[in-house]
Symmetry: C2
Subunit: 196 residues, 2 copies
């Protein structure tokens, strides 16, 4: 298996962490999105949307969309709950992440860290919706250790990816104590150092 990803991207890193956690062997192919490497003809042949990450299976077939990749890699593993309702709740989080969290938390970070914007110049909508997303996580977590059920699932891995660097975009996790605690616990389970 080959993972084509940009190391600055939480969407790519979550694929790496999942593969590492499940001890799946892979080669990591670094794709610099800022140099347009995800727009090359070879890359577009794998994913016409020109987005990272892409996973190429050993038979040559390719999979795009980080959370679909997570579901593919996690199939049959402990990272997907056996209980049908819990499985659905996990899917709910994975879809919510791409619709209501990533477009604000990840985009704010990208604009500040990689496009040099100051936090005060961010679109107010980014900040407002980003805070709403963190508030949803805070309410859902309460004193729970994991988003779904009693163990680590793909929902935690997916949501931690950009939540742990939310401060890069000006969000302060001190305002979301349950989220802050959960990030630390998930990082530990994944063997990650706290995000700088």
């Amino acid at each position: 298996m080959r993972i084509f990803g940009d190391s600055i991207s939480g969407n790519c890193l979550k694929v790496k962490w999942t593969a590492d956690h499940l001890s799946l062997p892979y080669d990591w192919i670094e794709i610099d999105i800022r140099k347009g490497e995800s727009r090359s003809p070879a890359f577009l042949a794998m994913n016409r949307a020109g987005q990272v990450p892409v996973v190429q299976l050993d038979d040559g077939r390719a999979i795009a969309q980080s959370n679909a990749i997570l579901l593919h890699l996690g199939r049959g593993s402990r990272l997907i709950p056996a209980d049908p309702f819990e499985q659905t709740k996990m899917l709910e989080w994975l879809i919510w992440e791409q619709y209501s969290h990533e477009p604000y938390i990840a985009v704010a970070r990208f604009q500040v860290v990689y496009q040099g914007k100051s936090v005060t110049d961010l679109e107010p909508r980014l900040i407002e919706r980003g805070k709403a997303a963190l508030g949803c996580l805070e309410d859902a977590l309460g004193d729970r250790r994991f988003l779904v059920g009693d163990g680590l699932t793909l929902a935690d891995i997916s949501l931690v990816a950009y939540t742990r660097t939310a401060h890069h975009g000006g969000f302060d996790l001190a305002d979301y104590p349950a989220v802050h605690r959960w990030v630390g616990q998930v990082e530990q389970l994944l063997g990650l150092d706290p995000a700088a």
Copy 2:
């Protein structure tokens, strides 16, 4: 089962069509989002994100996120491919729909039809990204009948929901002949009249 949805929303209608196609019994509870009915305390207790659709199972538990609901309703049915790779490709489309299609195609329609904007006043980004999404669908479909494999899957139902009303937001499906043909075929399979 109770489906809480707003009939103007493709995200809600796709849940109804899936239940109808699988002959699942349900009560439809109309929620008028423009009157703020998805922000009532009773509604927020089911889905703290305040978004429709929500499905409440007979035991009282609730599920949000249209595509997660589709996956829940479709579990074990012919709408989810048995082949693991095809299943993954279907998930890829469901996640792509919420990230790269709905935020442009559905939002353009909402602003024109329900907020009274003229098509010429839409943000250029909405139109550009919406066209890119339709272009991706066109490339993927070619002369295929369905997005994944040889039969109707949740990917077709999910993607048709807002594609069939793309013209409300100023997109012209005549520019995307494979998409136009596919919409008609899927509508027919779902027993829907062509969208006005």
